[in-house]
């Protein structure tokens, strides 16, 4: 007998080949069985989901995606339409979505980063602590330090320049946004004076660092 649900995996996504005639209830049950039994196999990857073999309404698609994420450790990032050039399409859809996520979602990191420590995040990051000289924070999105920034902060590590670096006390060694680099001035590199909250952003080919104010926040573009 032909299986009601077949799973085809690609590098960046999963294609569900569905039985065209089975009632939706039974189909959902079949999807559930399928993913429960192979939970280990799929792991906790971020994937894009595509359907084949059956016309589905948006509600039905969401229902199936819900069953998939409930019964596996997969992180369903997006649902994509059936497309001739599936592999390319899935890859692009996943990349776009992840890029979007990196600047528009964030994580917290609690603790002080010391000399030689590096943290690297796919998303924006909020550090609850200081970033000491010699430490490095890398993020594909923005970086907020709720403490003092003395070390290096690299925002937009995926290439995005619509990101920012903010800190309550801004004395960084270097700030990078996308592929631009700004370094501290030589004259006051050793004096660790309190600066008050400041924000660094990219505009017209330069990185600017300004006190946080209504005006400076107006200059920030996130997409």
């Amino acid at each position: 007998m032909k299986e009601p649900v077949n799973i085809k995996g690609t590098k960046s996504g999963i294609i569900l080949v569905l039985d065209p005639d089975m009632p939706l209830e039974d189909l959902l049950e079949a999807v559930k069985t399928k993913f429960t039994s192979s939970r280990k196999f799929f792991g906790d990857a971020s994937v894009a989901l595509t359907f084949e073999g059956r016309k589905l309404t948006d509600d039905e698609k969401f229902a199936i995606a819900g069953v998939v994420s409930d019964n596996s450790d997969l992180n369903v990032v997006c649902i994509t339409e059936e497309n001739a050039d599936k592999e390319e399409f899935l890859k692009k859809a996943l990349k776009d979505k992840l890029a979007d996520l990196s600047s528009n979602t964030g994580r917290f990191y609690k603790g002080t980063l010391r000399n030689g420590q590096v943290v690297d995040f796919e998303t924006s990051i909020i550090i609850l602590g200081d970033v000491n000289a010699g430490a490095q924070v890398v993020s594909k999105g923005s970086i907020i330090v709720l403490g003092a920034l003395y070390g290096n902060a690299f925002a937009g590590a995926g290439g995005s320049k619509n990101v920012f670096v903010a800190a309550l006390n801004m004395n960084p060694t270097q700030i990078r946004i996308g592929d631009s680099i700004a370094r501290s001035s030589d004259s006051d590199s050793k004096s660790q004076k309190e600066t008050g909250p400041m924000i660094a952003f990219f505009e017209n080919g330069n990185i600017y660092v300004e006190p946080i104010s209504r005006e400076s926040l107006n200059d920030i573009h996130l997409d």
């Binding site: 000399n115 030689g116 000289a133 270097q174 370094r183 590199s189 050793k190």
Partner: protein, 266 residues
């Protein structure tokens, strides 16, 4: 063809990095092209002492691993256009580099620079082996303390085993007042124990602390330590330079002046 000199000591905190920074700067001031290599992977300092930390993009490990070209990692000094720094990596450890790779790197840099100074990490493990790999000449730094001398002696043995062409001694942080009172070993006492050529004596000088914190080597300045380092540079170039008189009796005037200077610092 340039010369590769390793600055080493065995013991930590005796002034290897300060010495490297000052000798490199001094040689550059005398018109030589110089590159300083910080081989202390994981605990880099030379960039801070040179005041170049904020310019680091690539480092020694990036060069060795082929992530970038040598020229991309070399940082030009703020004041001396013929002086460059190859900083160490902070997030790796000593095993990221092998002696063979360091030897190759040194060979390559020899083509372009008169002097390549290797700032060696403390210890006798892989970091030390990496630092001495490409060198043909060594400067052993010690303070006039028994523990530092003991470690220097061990290092000299290892340098001999590595068939270094030439090994000279720098006695650092000598306090003439204490030597006079026979509370500290004199440089001659140290030479007597270690039995290698003394190339310079650097007095204990509070200006060193100031210069290190500022990130501006004081070689060539009108301080005792600045003069002592410049003299060592001239001796490295082969000049005959008499040893600085660290024991001269302070006259009434100079005592007065130094008192005023101290007040200003406070």
């Amino acid at each position: 063809m340039g010369e590769v000199i390793v600055i080493t000591s065995g013991k930590g905190g005796v002034g290897k990095t300060t010495t490297t920074a000052n000798l490199g700067t001094g040689l550059a001031q005398m018109g030589k092209s110089v590159v300083l290599i910080d081989t202390d992977i994981g605990l880099r300092n030379l960039d801070v002492v040179m005041g170049l930390e904020n310019r680091i993009v690539y480092n020694l490990v990036d060069v060795i691993e082929g992530t970038c070209r040598i020229n991309q990692a070399l940082i030009k000094d703020k004041r001396n256009p013929s002086l460059y720094l190859l900083p160490s990596a902070q997030t790796k450890d000593k095993s990221a580099v092998s002696p063979e790779q360091m030897r190759k790197l040194a060979e390559e840099l020899k083509e372009k620079f008169d002097y390549i100074l290797m700032d060696c990490p403390a210890g006798i493990e892989q970091g030390f082996q990496n630092a001495i790999a490409g060198a043909t000449r060594a400067l052993v730094v010690t303070t006039p303390e028994v523990s530092a001398i003991r470690d220097a002696d061990r290092i000299i043995g290892l340098l001999d085993a590595a068939e270094m062409d030439r090994t000279d001694l720098i006695v650092n942080r000598l306090r003439a007042d204490m030597v006079k009172k026979e509370e500290m070993m004199s440089s001659n006492d140290v030479v007597e124990v270690l039995g290698i050529n003394l190339i310079g004596v650097v007095p204990d000088d509070e200006n060193i602390v100031i210069s290190t914190n500022k990130g501006e080597p004081l070689v060539g300045s009108d301080t005792l330590a600045g003069k002592a380092y410049m003299n060592i540079c001239r001796r490295i170039l082969g000049e005959e330079v008499p040893m600085l008189d660290l024991y001269r009796k302070d006259g009434f005037m100079s005592k007065l002046v130094s008192k005023f200077k101290k007040k200003e610092l406070k």
